[in-house]
C-alpha cells in the first residue's frame, strides 16, 4: 500500500492503542488518589513560595495569595476550603491558567507557564498527617 494514501494500517492502530494505554497509565495516580487531606504548594522555578495543608485551609477560610515574577508579573491564586485552589488572575498574555479552574486532588496542578509559577496538590507526609491528629 502506498505510504502516502492515508489509509489506516494495522500498525497505525497499534500506535493509537499504545497512546491510549500510555494515557491510561499516566492517569492511574490521579484515579487512585483518594486522600482527603493534602497540601497546596505554590512555587516558581526556584522552589516553594507558599505551602498550606487542607486542614489549615479549613481553619483559615478562603483567601487569595499573589505570587510575583520578575518584571512586575504576577499570578493570584484563590484558596478555598471547599473547592481547593485556582488561578483567579495573572499577568500572562494567554490566560490558559485561568481556564483550569479549581484543583483539589493529588497530583493535580495548575501552571502559569509564561510566569513560571504553579500550584500543585501534593500528599501530606506521614509526619504532617500525624500532626493533624494531635489534640490540643
Amino acid at each position: 500500500m502506498n505510504r502516502q494514501t492515508g489509509f489506516i494500517k494495522k500498525a497505525d492502530l497499534y500506535v493509537a492503542v499504545g497512546i491510549l494505554m500510555l494515557a491510561a497509565l499516566a492517569y492511574l495516580p490521579t484515579f487512585l488518589s483518594r486522600q482527603s487531606n493534602y497540601k497546596i504548594v505554590i512555587a516558581n522555578e526556584q522552589g516553594s513560595l507558599y505551602e498550606l495543608n487542607s486542614q489549615d485551609l479549613k481553619a483559615k477560610g478562603a483567601f487569595s495569595y499573589t505570587a510575583f515574577a520578575p518584571g512586575g508579573n504576577f499570578v493570584t491564586f484563590n484558596l478555598d476550603p471547599s473547592a481547593g485552589v485556582r488561578v483567579s488572575s495573572a499577568s500572562c498574555p494567554d490566560k490558559v491558567c485561568l481556564q483550569a479552574g479549581y484543583i483539589n486532588k493529588v497530583p493535580q496542578s495548575v501552571v502559569c507557564l509564561p510566569n513560571k509559577i504553579y500550584a500543585q496538590i501534593i500528599p501530606l507526609t506521614n509526619k504532617e498527617d500525624n500532626l493533624d491528629a494531635i489534640l490540643h
Binding site: 502516502q4 492515508g6 497505525d12 512555587a43 501552571v111 507557564l113
Partner: protein, 172 residues
C-alpha cells in the same frame, strides 16, 4: 514526470515554511480553548509532515527551524518560555517521525499520531525543565488523549495534500 532541482526544492521548502507560520499564528488564537498548557491541534505539523514526505529530512529540519523562529518573532515570543517549549516539541516530533517513517511500516497517519504524542511529550519535558518541577506531568494523560484527534486530523489532511501535490508533479 518532473524531477526537482535544488532551486525547486528550496522554493517548495519556503512555501511549506510559510504555510507552517500561517498555521502557527492561526492556531495561537485558539490556544485558550483548552485549559492545558501547550495543548494545540498541531496544525503547523502539516507543514513538517509535508516537508518530510514531499522533500527530505534535511529540508524538513530547515522548515521546522524557520517556522518556529519566524512565528516566534511574529508573535513576539522569541526567547520566551513558549519559544523553547515549541522548539523542543517540534524537534522531538520531527526526529521521531523521521525514524518511524524510515524504520517502520507505519502509514502517514501512524507517523502523524506518534509525532503528535511525542510533540506533546517533548513540550512537557522542556516546560518541566523550565519550571524545575514535574507538576506539568499531571497533564500528560489529557495531552496524550488530545494527540489522537490532533495527529489523526493533521495526518489525514497531509495525506490529501500530498496526493494532490504528487498528482500535479506527475502531470508536469
Amino acid at each position: 514526470m518532473l524531477s526537482f532541482t535544488k532551486t525547486h526544492k528550496l522554493v517548495i521548502a519556503a512555501l511549506f515554511t510559510s504555510l507552517g507560520i500561517v498555521l502557527s499564528i492561526v492556531e495561537n488564537y485558539f490556544s485558550f480553548v483548552l485549559p492545558i498548557p501547550g495543548a494545540k491541534i498541531g496544525l503547523a505539523n502539516i507543514a513538517t509532515l509535508l516537508a518530510l514526505y514531499f522533500l527530505n529530512f534535511r529540508l524538513a529540519l530547515v522548515v521546522v527551524g524557520l517556522r518556529v523562529l519566524l512565528s516566534a518573532l511574529l508573535l513576539g515570543t522569541f526567547l520566551a518560555s513558549s519559544f523553547f517549549i515549541s522548539s523542543g516539541g517540534a524537534l522531538v516530533s520531527l526526529f521521531a517521525m523521521q525514524l518511524l517513517k524510515s524504520l517502520t511500516p507505519l502509514s502517514i497517519l501512524g507517523v502523524s499520531l506518534a509525532g503528535a504524542a511525542l510533540h506533546n511529550l517533548g513540550q512537557l519535558a522542556i516546560a518541566s525543565l523550565l519550571i524545575s518541577s514535574q507538576a506539568l506531568f499531571y497533564f500528560l494523560p489529557l495531552l496524550l488523549l488530545f494527540s489522537l484527534p490532533a495527529g489523526f486530523s493533521t495526518g489525514y489532511l497531509t495525506s490529501k495534500i500530498l496526493y494532490l501535490l504528487n498528482k500535479k508533479k506527475d502531470c508536469v
